[in-house]
Symmetry: C2
């Protein structure tokens, strides 16, 4: 079971709880600690105490709630940039924990973390080019190309483009910025605002699901035309609690693509759009992948520079 | 002027003409040959004769009209996959010219080639994360992240997502697959179908431009929320012939983003969305970058494997 793999500390920093694991992979988790996410100083000190107690790890990965800065060239790299969560806006997480541990440290969004974990060990195991979509309180999508997050100026905000509307539907949506962007039409709060029932609890035969499926089908269509994904993993509370949604979303995507991108990977919608496989461990395991990639980059540059 | 840079052969394979250059960069072009694109055998043999005549180049790059296969793991890598152009559907270009020359060979779409050239030497010089959009007979967009094309399953088809429609406009569009996708609404043939006048010739005060600008603003909005570009270069016959379109498209993008992705790079729309700088040499210079990157990958792997 690849005994030689380095031991990595992985932290999922969530909006309500943090999960820290010391692991080489999903089958070799040496320790797992769960903490509530409270005020920043209290939370980060508690995580530092866990990291101090652990030994033998070669790298640290952090998959964080956001929005975060992932721009290495920016002064706020590793920070949570803006959040309504008290005290966390502008909080440095990545650089602080990197300095505290002194090991190579990877830092990214929780969505990209889950994407990396599903690509490495989960529902897209062994596939280097994937998208991971989460549909819950918000909608996020992370692209992985060649096994690495597709990064540039900022973390993906792919839930916030404006999809074409279903004919006859002109509901204004709930995104405070865009109204009827994908998130404003199909995330849990949007479903609740439209129907009076939270997304995870809405009956499978409610007609609102067709509108949600149409919108999510547009999200998948747009991800397909980026050219990147060979598979799309869809998770989050709205998807996981509503298995009936998968066939509807697949049909909406296929109908919308209308034969475009005629490749077998996309044409077989049942294997192209799949639920996640790692459950509650996707976050911290994604952080382990981020740590491993940071270690890999460090080793690669230090040995070639030597 | 970086005399030590390797000499590269770059070929832009266009639908009507091919341009081949032997160069180290835009200021060091040693030879430039233009040929008509006719039947495949005739065209490729003529290009091979040019490559045979040249000497001293370390790599070859090809930026081709498409659709093409860029999937290295696929049997049809380097081929033009489907095109109405007589004889070219299924034609191998990349592997044939690589075998003929025996040098490391890069192969990609003409859009990605232009993107790489503009990022290396043109309007996005020195910026590693960009998007390049062409609006002409079709609409294409290429993403460059960390200086490399964002690749996965297939080349980008970003002109083919379905944007939200301008209120009150329900024209069906001209894309044979999607009707009213971005290309079906805003490429040259769409403008001609809607107005009776080809896009490059339509008067600046024609009201159809507002609809075109809205659609292109949606394209830019969606590119922004990928998180990748620090700058977007827009070229192609419709943009280049209509300077009035730039301020309109920038305004449409800014209005649609509505303050989302509040970073200075995006907020300053005049420096964020710019025309290309390399003119007719973007294609072959992009091919030179593709060749240089193929050489870089070869050197990197051969020296670490040694």
């Amino acid at each position: 079971m690849a005994k030689g793999r380095p031991l990595i500390a992985g932290i999922e920093l969530g909006g309500t709880k943090c999960i820290a694991i010391l692991a080489r992979g999903p089958d070799e988790i040496e320790d797992r600690v769960q903490l509530p996410t409270t005020r920043p100083e209290e939370t980060l000190s508690a995580l530092e105490a866990v990291l101090d107690r652990w030994s033998g790890y070669s790298a640290l990965g952090i998959a964080s709630f956001g929005p975060v800065s992932i721009d290495h060239g920016s002064a706020d790299y590793g920070h949570i940039t803006s959040t309504p969560k008290p005290g966390w806006a502008g909080q440095d997480v990545g650089r602080r924990l990197a300095a505290h541990t002194g090991v190579p440290t990877g830092f990214h969004t929780d969505v990209v973390g889950a994407a990396l974990a599903e690509a490495r060990w989960g529902a897209a195991r062994g596939i280097a080019d994937i998208a991971y979509v989460t549909v819950g309180t918000g909608i996020g999508a992370g692209l992985i190309a060649g096994g690495k997050p597709v990064d540039g100026l900022t973390a993906s905000e792919f839930g916030h483009f404006r999809p074409v509307r279903t004919a006859g539907d002109d509901w204004v949506g709930v995104c405070p910025y865009h109204g009827a962007c994908v998130e404003g039409l199909a995330a849990g709060p949007a479903i609740q605002a439209r129907t009076g029932t939270p997304g995870p609890e809405l009956a499978a035969d409610d007609p609102a699901w067709d509108l949600v499926a149409d919108t999510l089908g547009q999200l998948l269509h747009t991800l397909v035309v980026t050219g990147v994904p060979r598979r799309i993993v869809m998770g989050g509370g709205v998807m996981v609690g509503n298995d009936h949604l998968f066939p509807r979303v697949r049909r909406a995507m296929t109908r919308s693509l209308a034969g475009y991108v005629a490749l077998p990977e996309v044409a077989d919608a049942e294997t192209f759009v799949v639920p996640p496989a790692l459950g509650g461990n996707a976050g911290p395991l994604g952080a382990v992948v981020l740590g491993a990639q940071a270690l890999g980059a460090e080793l690669s540059s230090s040995f070639t520079a030597a």
